[in-house]
Amino acid sequence: MTVELRAAGLRLAYGDRVVVPDLSLLVPPGRISVIVGANACGKSTLLRALARLLAPRSGQVLLDGRSVHALPTRAVARELGLLPQAPVAPDGLTVLDLVTRGRSPHQSWWRQWSSADEQAVTSALRATDLADLADRPVDELSGGQRQRAWLAMAIAQQTPVLLLDEPTTFLDLAHQIDVLDLVVDLNRDEDRTIVMVLHDLNQACRYADHVIAMKSGEIVAQGGPAEVVTPATVEDVFDLTCQVTTDPVSGTPLVIPIGRHHSTESVAR
């Protein structure tokens, strides 16, 4: 069920402030792409544009060759899912109710709980390990469970492409890994194309098939983690000197930053 998502000549701006001047991108279908970059480099803006939340000044976002802004928004919602940063559920909304709402692009007013809906919701709850908490209000869950509930909603939408804006924000390390592992499951088991924004470079290296490094609204480098995450690129993108070694667990690049303090004698400044 892979769908090709592509950006062509995107110019993105808020008012007079141009954030992304001219950007083209082909998201590798069926892979996990991670967008990295310093604060305010335009990575979330790019994700919002890919999700059609932000209309480009020029250029377009193409889903299998069709412009997402020209297609009916409900039709796009059956192909392209989105989980924004830190969403908030109304008080008292249960996990089951939230996840069921992920089905809305597939529903009509007389068909609110088809067997396809039930199957999608059940499997999303199972995938996120929330079946036992289905009747609990979302606002009473822990941070990690809450983020899993929102992910379950996005999973139940059953879109071939899933866009995640910093899905690990506000989670402790164990829950971050939990969520990222879940994303890999979605990619491997269901062949979904994933695009996510992550802050942690090492997690990006471990979980991405394709890393997209952005600076000032432009893509500086993209490709496999080992190609992209080098001391030179990190210096360019984050203005940070570092060493890159190998993650002993995953074999992917591991970035060790060099700050102004705490370096041993052997580190060349």
């Binding site: 808020y14 008012g15 919002r48 999700a51 059609r52 939340l53 009916p72 928004t73 409900r74 039709a75 796009v76 919602a77 059956r78 392209l80 899912g81 989105l82 989980l83 924004p84 969403p87 908030v88 559920a89 109304p90 008080d91 008292g92 909304l93 249960t94 089951l96 109710d97 939230l98 069921t100 709402r101 992920g102 809305s104 692009p105 007013w109 007389w110 068909r111 609110q112 709980w113 088809s114 067997s115 809906d117 039930e118 009747d135 209000p137 909603m153 996005a154 939408q157």
Partner: protein, 345 residues
């Protein structure tokens, strides 16, 4: 907090959905209670009638004079109470859901204040004396809504900005109303204040019929549009991701909410606190996360009819005074609770 839901699916016709037994029971119970209050309201007056005689007159039986009293004299008022409460309750539920804020109600965000300044201006300055209070109230409410929407627009609107701009507009209109009252003649001021508190005393069919016709259109339209509320409640970005045309949906839903409150205010004045309180009462009765539209509307009807009955039986005051007296402590309680929870409620 959240009550049980029953999920059902029929093979033919291929209909499926979620039923909430408690919500259904609450709607039925409130609807019944509203009908009882509607009938009771028609028994009270200079010519006392029993409930039995009111019911007989309603189905066109019984004494001819009873029928005249019920249909020509008392039903306009009772029906106006029912419809105004229904409209305010539903409108409040819409505003609160769209803005995701339990404090958002047409009387907080300036719609009612807009109607008030237009009506008081009409009475005091004699502007549009030909068009009447009703039309002025309607025009004022709609104009205030347009001003709020336009001022809140920055490449789209957000619920938060609508509330902030609305509060500003509300204060401006309230100041203007106060100025007009200050320079009014005594009898004008009396007439204006009588309208400002919300009043069913002098309602006739000429106020009730337009309201009935407006609701016959607005309520079904609102219910059809309300499907969008399910996703809008999750925030603009999530709703957009789920395929909701956020700006169009919010505009149409706000239009319906403004229409409901404008026609209600035109008929009876801004009956205080009903639009604010009814949705929150209904939400707690039904045990659902967001104000349920029909249950909120029924709650509004019960509150207005009950307050009007109380006003006439016990104290002889306009209905808006009673809802205000009962509503103010409720608002304080809501605020205290919202602060404790550390969120919007």
């Amino acid at each position: 907090m959240t009550a049980a839901a029953v999920r059902f699916r029929l093979a033919a016709p291929p209909v499926s959905g979620v039923l909430r037994p408690r919500l259904l029971a609450v709607c039925l119970g409130l609807g019944l209670l509203a009908f009882v209050l509607f009938c009771l309201g028609m028994t009270v007056g200079d010519y006392p009638l029993s409930v039995g005689r009111v019911l007989a007159a309603l189905v066109s039986r019984g004494d001819y004079y009873d029928q005249v009293v019920v249909y020509d004299w008392r039903m306009p008022r009772a029906l106006a109470g029912l419809l105004v409460g229904f409209a305010f309750g539903m409108s409040g539920a819409l505003f609160q859901t769209i803005t995701r804020n339990p404090l958002a109600a047409p009387d907080v965000i300036g719609i009612s204040a807009g109607a008030a300044v237009a009506v008081v201006g009409g009475i005091v300055l004699g502007i549009g004396s030909g068009v009447g209070t009703q039309t002025l109230g309607l025009a004022g409410a709609v104009l205030a809504a347009v001003v709020i929407y336009v001022l809140a627009w920055r490449r789209g609107t957000t619920g938060y900005r609508i509330i902030l701009v609305g509060i500003g507009v509300s204060w401006m209109c309230t100041s203007a109303t106060a100025y007009l009252l200050a320079r009014a003649k005594l009898h004008e001021a009396q007439q204006a204040v009588g309208w400002l508190v919300g009043n069913l005393n002098d309602v006739t069919w000429s106020q009730t019929t337009p309201l009935l016709l407006a609701l016959a259109v607005l309520v079904p339209v609102t219910l059809v549009l309300s499907g969008w509320l399910r996703t809008l409640q999750l925030g603009d970005d999530v709703a957009a991701g789920l395929g909701t045309p956020v700006q169009r949906a919010r505009f149409l839903l706000l239009l319906a909410a403004v229409g409901l409150v404008a026609f209600g205010t035109a008929a009876a004045g801004p009956v205080a606190f009903v639009a604010l309180a009814a949705p929150q009462i209904a939400r707690r009765l039904a045990g659902v996360p967001a104000p349920p539209l029909v249950a909120s509307a029924c709650t509004g009807a019960v509150v207005v009819l009950g307050a009007d009955l109380l006003a006439r039986l016990v104290v002889g005051l306009p209905v808006g005074v009673i809802t205000g007296v009962l509503g103010a402590p409720f608002l304080l309680w809501l605020l205290a609770r919202a602060n404790r929870a550390g969120s919007g409620g």
